[in-house]
Symmetry: C2
Subunit: 441 residues, 2 copies
């Protein structure tokens, strides 16, 4: 019998738990779902006899270590910053661990000890990062197998709202942690462009954008992710001249969001006290430079050439001029903005979300003259606000890879991400059964 | 006998130590100067029999507590973030403490216990904060004593280079912590303007500036400090409609500095690895959007209307196009920029620095019709790169106020800043003896 512990029973764990429960009886797995809110864990198990729900507080060290000790493989669905203590416990006790999060410096530091103890620390095995690595590496390995050289690699992904549920002018609703969406991109993005290292600071991230087209789904804005350069080595792209990974939003979103960046409404380092004595209208006025005219006229002047019918509609939708009260007692500008957006960008009960991913390759082949082009695109529409496309595409690759590891389809230890053929090949094949299929062009 | 401990013997402590040594014999003081570098502490004492130098590491808790226990009053000249542990020890042992730094949340939290134990925690008693509070409160108290109401209060201060040593186009050299200069203003500035709360985010801080004139010293750029609003209550300005505190730079500096902000060169949250394989020229190129022409032409296009002869001269001075090597192995963009500026903006041996301060008041008086205006300005030129204007104007107010407290010119406990008459009156009077004199107009 193998005991699997899943820490965190939030929305993103739904599909993961379902999949593991489904495969539990035939593999003799016992599944424990642990959450601060035990009822939430119970709900996700819907009475399945292979599963047990427990109440779990990550900060209770004694209990945490005891629970980890009782299991064989631990899946952490916690926010990335909370994996550290779990990972250290896992390596100490010789337990495998799996997450959908980026490999942190803390995680990296455990690599050697984990290898020594034959412990797997699987990371970046969700959607982005996750499916993007797997699907890109499949193509990269194929091209390189034919003796080809990749010159340009661009990869984009966005968690969006499905066209049929897109009833707001931003084309966006939260299917993922709202805080991460509001703070997205702070710092400096780095990528390669025509052989040169390029940096984009936060203040230009949403204006220095690209337009990406995905057949059947239209055009999207794409802004650069934090660090694309480190993946040159990870993907083994020796000759690459252009390498960008980015995030997709509906076309026009970035122009609107850039107003919040310029205004200062996404700053998370300062505190506005007595915020609940203000309105969103007075807050906007306080961030706008002094000037003549109505608030909307001042805003229009501030936005300059970025103000068009779409921007106007987006801002109107957020009720910025109506004297809407701020409910947070105090908070950073970013927290106050987030509170408004959580109300305006909420997925309604029957709303469906959508994830879109596209890889673009330019490469040479010894067998053909000139530069070859290939694009590989994926679009997944969610079922409802619980079984979102996001929950499926984050949870299933993690669950499938855990199954493939436990059923010995691959044998690896230490810090791993799904860039190796033995991981991505069975994964991509099984994802197709779930209609998660890339279209190559 | 009273035992005074001074922690930190850096440049900013020079005038403070001299003053306290001078007054030690007549007051029966023993002065201990503690620094990580004992030789530095010894140098500052130049053999004075009232002083002892010790080697001191703030992170060595046992030694720190032992040394604090042996003294009656502790002056911390450490960076502001390092006062916390010293303050807690002081309150625990019933020792008085004095700093030139802003009151932190940690410090504030000790107020009640300090009052209970009759311990003074004197803060913000340097130049800015310090002399600004004292000199502003003198005028505010005078106006309010006559029944007047202050409508507008603006206060500006800058640590600059003296006109006779101003041989670079930025009009700036480091007379203070370079890191703080490079990171200045990150977050959101808040102030009052015509009765409205105004916020300026970092990305607009160096373009939404004022021009300030100080007679005999010319015009200066002024950008807003982080938090001006909290001083409305501290200064007791009940009816004030405009309240701004700001930082002065030579005219044109902000336009130049804004290019670094826009480029992203002041970001301290991201790390550039292998920086020493780059040059400042390639770094600039990496931060500039892709485009045609030489690097300087691309930079000019990027700066847009902010590019003029002065900006051009400022950038030329920094040797940005000459392929100058980066020496830091890795670091944030801000750290890499700082390394260049520390070389270019270094005070030379015979260079003199200058501090400039100006308060502007608009107020009503019951005895006179209309709105009254008053400005109060201070300029101090340093002696050399050790006895800087900065070291004098930071160290002397702290030293004098410590003397006034120990000689019982005022009796206060808990967290205090120099806004009370019993503190500022003797202080401003004695500062005049050192030629630190405000000119009212």
């Amino acid at each position: 019998m193998t005991k699997i512990l899943i820490i965190g029973a939030g929305r993103s764990a739904t599909s993961l738990i379902d999949y593991l429960l489904k495969h539990a009886p035939s593999n003799d797995w016992k599944i424990t779902v642990a959450d601060v809110d035990k009822r939430l864990a119970e709900e996700k198990l819907h009475g399945d006899s292979s599963g047990t729900a427990i109440s779990f507080d990550i900060t209770n060290e004694e209990k945490r270590r005891q629970v980890i000790l009782e299991h064989d493989l631990i899946i952490s669905m916690l926010p990335a910053t909370m994996h550290g203590s779990v990972a250290r416990d896992c390596v100490e006790f010789g337990k495998h661990m799996a997450t959908a999060s980026y490999v942190s410096a803390d995680m990296k530091a455990l690599d050697e000890e984990a290898k020594h103890k034959n412990v797997l620390l699987l990371n970046e095995c969700g959607l982005d990062p996750g499916i993007d690595h797997a699907s890109a590496m499949k193509i990269i390995d194929e091209i390189q197998k034919e003796g080809g050289e990749i010159i340009c690699f661009k990869s984009f992904c966005g968690g969006l709202v499905a066209p049929e549920s897109n009833d707001n002018p931003w084309g966006y609703k939260f299917s993922w942690n709202p805080r991460n969406v509001v703070l997205a991109g702070q710092g400096t993005a780095q990528y390669l462009e025509n052989g040169e290292i390029k940096f984009i600071p936060y203040n230009r991230l949403f204006s220095q954008i690209e337009t990406i087209e995905v057949e059947g789904y239209g055009k999207f804005d794409a802004y650069a992710n934090r660090d694309s350069i480190s993946y040159v080595d990870v993907y083994g792209l020796r000759s690459v001249k252009t390498m960008v990974r980015g995030t997709l939003r509906q076309q026009g979103y970035c122009k609107g969001w850039n107003q919040f960046v310029k205004l200062g409404l996404t700053d998370d380092t300062s505190k506005i006290t007595h915020a609940n004595e203000l309105t969103y209208t007075s807050l906007l006025n306080s961030f706008l430079p002094a000037g003549e005219g109505t608030l909307k006229e001042k805003f229009k002047k501030f936005a300059g050439s970025e103000w068009d019918t779409q921007t106007e509609t987006m801002m109107d939708y957020l009720e910025l001029y109506s004297g809407k009260k701020i409910t947070l007692k105090e908070g950073s500008p970013a927290q106050i903005l987030q509170a408004l957006l959580e109300e305006k960008w909420k997925l309604k009960e029957n709303d469906k979300d959508m994830i879109v991913m596209q890889h673009q390759f330019e490469y040479t082949l010894p067998s053909k003259p000139g530069i070859q082009k290939l694009s590989s695109s994926l679009a997944v529409i969610g079922k409802d606000q619980n079984y979102t496309a996001m929950a499926q595409t984050v949870g299933l690759p993690l669950a499938m890879t855990v199954k493939n590891f436990l059923t010995k389809k691959f044998k690896l230890s230490g810090v791993q991400i799904p860039v190796k053929k033995e991981i991505y090949e069975p994964l991509l094949k099984e994802l197709e059964e779930y209609k998660i299929i890339f279209i190559e062009k």
